[in-house]
């Protein structure tokens, strides 16, 4: 049986590769990131899971990036309400490529939400990549 932490660690094993980690200045965190973090972080957490013979779980991968300070012609104000598309776009693509249709010996993952942007209460945007995760239970010896 895979516990919630096992599942999240499995997904982290897919993401913890230089192709992705060199693109962020923060870290890949399990479940949550430090509240004060202003870096480009990735958090992996579990939305739901079951204990069927083929365990099925839904995993949320969140990509965090601060909104960039922008200035526009004709205005002296600095605008920081826009998402950091330049950071989100490559990160979403890398995360999706590392997690979509992955058939590993102990589990499989498929992307079901390929990077939806949400605005958080503090105004910063976060990108959500959602996965379906499957794992056949090894403790079922009679099948």
């Amino acid at each position: 049986m895979k516990t919630g932490i096992d599942i999240v660690k499995d997904v982290k094993s897919l993401l913890d590769v230089p192709e992705l980690t060199t693109q962020i200045d923060g870290k890949i965190w399990l479940f949550n990131r430090p509240q004060s973090s202003t870096k480009k972080d990735i958090t992996i957490s579990l939305l739901t899971s079951n204990n069927e013979w083929q365990q099925n779980a839904v995993v949320n991968i969140r990509i965090h990036a601060q909104n960039p300070p922008l200035s526009f012609a004709g205005s002296k104000n600095i605008d920081n309400t826009m998402p950091d598309i330049d950071s989100f776009e490559p990160l979403i693509k890398i995360v999706c490529s590392l997690t979509d249709t992955q058939w590993k010996s102990k589990f499989r993952t498929f992307v079901t939400n390929a990077g939806e942007l949400f605005r958080q209460p503090d105004g910063n945007f976060v990108a959500l990549v959602q996965l379906d995760y499957y794992s056949i239970q090894e403790n079922f010896k009679n099948i």
């Binding site: 479940f31 579990l46 939305l47 739901t48 949320n60 969140r62 949400f118 958080q120």
Partner: protein, 153 residues
């Protein structure tokens, strides 16, 4: 020599086959709807301490429900959004949202629409990790199969 003649026409035969087929589709559709109702009950019953969400207005909980689209229409008895003591606005939003989705997916076959109608449901699941309907939707298959097996037995 024996001569056999049918006391029914080709049209009668086709009508019988069509009626039987429609009866099977209706039975399956009814089971599908009942599975949806059970999934709705599961989703609504999931508390925050079980990985679900909390209640402030009850709108999100009230907006969880299902409808069955059959033969391009939704019969009143195939709308399952039971009222709560609060959250009536959410319930109405849920029904409207399910009807909107029905327009997009209706192809004549039985279609079950299981939804949470509040606009922030995706945010609650995606950013807060609170299960709204995803966990229950994963149980739809087994609920449906169990109902079909009950019928067979």
């Amino acid at each position: 020599m024996i001569l056999l003649t049918a006391d029914f026409s080709q049209a009668d035969l086709e009508k019988d086959i069509r009626d039987s087929f429609e009866s099977i589709v209706d039975d399956i559709a009814q089971n599908l709807f009942e599975a949806g109702c059970r999934a709705v009950d599961l989703a609504r019953a999931k508390t925050k301490s079980e990985g679900g969400f909390g209640n402030i207005t009850y709108n999100l909980r009230g907006s969880i429900g299902c409808v069955l689209v059959l033969n391009h229409s939704i019969a009143d008895e195939h709308i399952y959004f039971p009222p709560l003591t609060a959250g009536e606005d959410g319930r109405q939003d849920g029904i409207s949202y399910a009807r909107e989705i029905a327009l997009l997916v209706d192809e004549g076959e039985p279609v079950l629409i299981f939804c949470a109608g509040m606009f922030y449901a995706g945010y609650v699941e995606g950013l807060e990790d609170y299960d709204v309907i995803t966990g229950s939707s994963k149980k739809l298959d087994s609920l449906f199969k169990a109902l079909l097996n009950e019928d067979r037995n």
